[in-house]
């Protein structure tokens, strides 16, 4: 028999991602853990969830882990492969058709309001470390609610990010409206190897929602470069071990990611 101790951090993160996925809703997904989490949801709690990729591949059913959003593994069993500008249309019309509401992002730095940097560390003109850049992230952050994947380290959770690639709640309530962004969309959750953070309904500031078993709220505050409200935090509830079996056997049988 497996024991609780056999849940790895990544498997808990995948579970946390899957819980954000509702049946019959469409999600803009990147590769990596969000795809694993979304696939896990499709095999268990949300079989009719639809996965959309910024490369224009709609509702594919990947049988192997793709390496990018353009990987032909994602186009398997797709409903349609559309030109990328049509994907843009789905986004800018999202407020009219409530089909797609949420997308997944990742980054190198995040601030208390969920503004995200995936472009460069240091001075933008002569960066200390240069990353890929926005890709589709900025567009997802413009139009959709977002769920953000981060590594939980003090230098990554900082008061001010070096470059805002993907706008979050800007500086709190009303920040998005002031910038001309859709005001009712923005970051909803941040998932790390330590737990799940959410954003206060009023202040739009990040707080600790759930911590993974084996992690303490104190430990999470110590790994966060700004003051994090931990007063509402609860321990993350793990599902039964049958779910772990499904994750391992049906979602990533090659064990590339989990």
């Amino acid at each position: 028999m497996r024991s609780m101790a056999e849940w790895t951090t990544r498997q808990m993160m995948v579970t946390a991602i899957a819980r954000q996925i509702e049946d019959h809703k469409a999600y803009v997904i990147g590769t990596g853990l969000p795809l694993i989490g979304a696939t896990f949801a499709k095999k268990t709690t949300a079989p009719n969830a639809i996965l959309i990729f910024e490369s224009g591949m709609i509702d594919g059913d990947p049988q192997e882990v793709p390496t990018s959003v353009s990987d032909l593994r994602i186009s398997y069993h797709s409903s349609a492969l559309i030109p990328q500008y049509r994907y843009f249309g789905f986004k800018s019309n999202a407020h009219k058709k409530d089909i797609i509401t949420t997308g997944f992002l990742g980054g190198a730095q995040i601030d208390p309001y969920g503004n995200l940097n995936s472009t460069a560390i240091g001075d933008y003109d002569r960066p200390k470390t240069r990353f890929t850049g926005s890709g589709g992230a900025n567009g997802i952050a413009t139009y959709f609610n977002t769920i953000i994947m981060m590594q939980h380290q003090k230098r990554r959770f900082c008061e001010k990010v070096d470059y805002v690639t993907s706008p979050g709640w800007i500086d709190g309530n009303n920040g998005r409206a002031r910038m001309g962004l859709p005001a009712d969309r923005g970051p909803h959750a941040v998932i790390t190897e330590l737990g799940v953070m959410r954003f206060d309904k009023e202040s739009k500031r990040m707080y600790l929602s759930e911590y993974f078993p084996g992690v303490t709220p104190r430990q999470i505050q110590d790994n966060t470069g700004f003051v994090l409200d931990v007063s509402r935090a609860e321990q993350f509830h793990l599902p039964g071990l049958e779910m772990l079996e499904i994750m391992i056997s049906k979602v990533d049988p090659q064990r590339l990611m989990i």
Partner: protein, 321 residues
């Protein structure tokens, strides 16, 4: 049927249509349908001072940068995702300030191609508002003001004249000199058909002043005209058609081959080191006579192992690490 035969060798096509200082746009998406054979020929012919953009870039963009062909990069993303999470020559050249680089969001880039293909002067979007894509420019203002290849500014924030409460980001469309698009099927008259995902490539083909099509198969035009609704690029668009089976290797090409994971791993290693990268160029670009010699060097066994399995559209269980 009387139609112009646009078939050329790769060497002829690059010589005639890609010049120093040109604005070049490349097809595909990170590791899918990238015109790698054409990229190797551009490097071999020593083109320089290029203004380069591509659908999200991968090793194609990275190689051109590392070979010293690029003056300005306009892009939203540069990675051989899954193999190089950030392309390594790209990263080094940007960190050391050796090229000018302007960042966009993928959406904006996609729409810029579309608008350019439609002949529109700029797009008006909400994208990039509230981000440093608006406030921090990679190309300095004075360069925008003085370089005739570039628009006068990266972008302008303006109120929507039809709805003054709404802010918009106005972004000028690029003036692309030459686009290079790798496709599955093309006829000698230039009619072309992309199979699998199109990405932004139809727009890219039509936005540029000139267009080179490289293709897996040259097909008789009667065959492509039997089902013209399957063709996306009409014969009037391309200026050159170059027959290059495996012309996107080591990237994927739908209905033909998967990406070459081992090659991309090797590239990840060599592109992280100046000396190894130079040796890689010597071995795989300068030391190779033509595309056939390149394929011989990869080898039949390797090429056959990449053939996609019909029904899947990729190679199930492909060795990727």
């Amino acid at each position: 049927m009387d139609s112009k035969n646009k078939v050329m060798t790769l060497e002829e096509a690059i010589k005639e249509f890609v010049h120093d200082g040109d604005w070049v746009a490349l097809s595909g998406f990170v590791t899918n349908r990238k015109p790698y054979a054409a990229v190797r020929e551009i490097i071999k012919q020593g083109r320089k001072d290029l203004y380069l953009e591509s659908g999200p870039g991968g090793g194609d963009v990275d190689m051109l940068i590392g070979a010293g062909c690029v003056k300005v990069l306009l892009n939203s993303y540069t990675a051989n995702s899954g193999f190089s999470q950030v392309c390594r020559r790209f990263r080094k050249y940007v960190e050391e300030g050796k090229i000018l680089m302007e960042d966009y969001s993928l959406d904006v880039h996609t729409l810029l191609y579309h608008a350019a293909a439609l002949g529109l002067p700029y797009i008006a979007v909400k994208n990039m508002l509230g981000s440093d894509l608006v406030s921090k420019w990679g190309i300095p203002e004075e360069v925008y003001a003085n370089d005739p290849k570039l628009p006068s500014q990266k972008l302008i924030i303006e109120r929507n004249p039809f709805n003054p409460d709404e802010q918009l980001c106005l972004v000028p469309t690029p003036k692309i000199d030459i686009s290079i698009v790798h496709v599955q099927k093309a006829a000698q008259d230039g009619t072309a058909r992309i199979e699998g995902p199109q990405f932004g490539d139809i727009d890219l083909a039509m936005a540029a002043k000139n267009c080179i099509i490289t293709c897996e198969e040259i097909v008789h035009h009667d065959e492509l005209r039997r089902e013209p609704w399957q063709n996306q690029i009409p014969n009037i668009v391309p200026d050159a058609v170059v027959h290059l089976p495996y012309g996107a290797h080591p990237a994927q090409c739908a209905n033909h081959y998967d990406y070459d994971g081992l090659f991309l791993r090797m590239y990840d290693k060599v592109s992280g080191d100046d000396k190894l990268f130079q040796e890689y160029l010597d071995e795989w670009v300068f030391g190779i006579k033509d595309h056939c010699e390149y394929l011989n060097k990869i080898g039949t066994n390797r090429l056959m192992s990449l053939r996609v399995q019909p029904g899947y559209g990729y190679v199930p269980g492909l060795k990727r690490r």
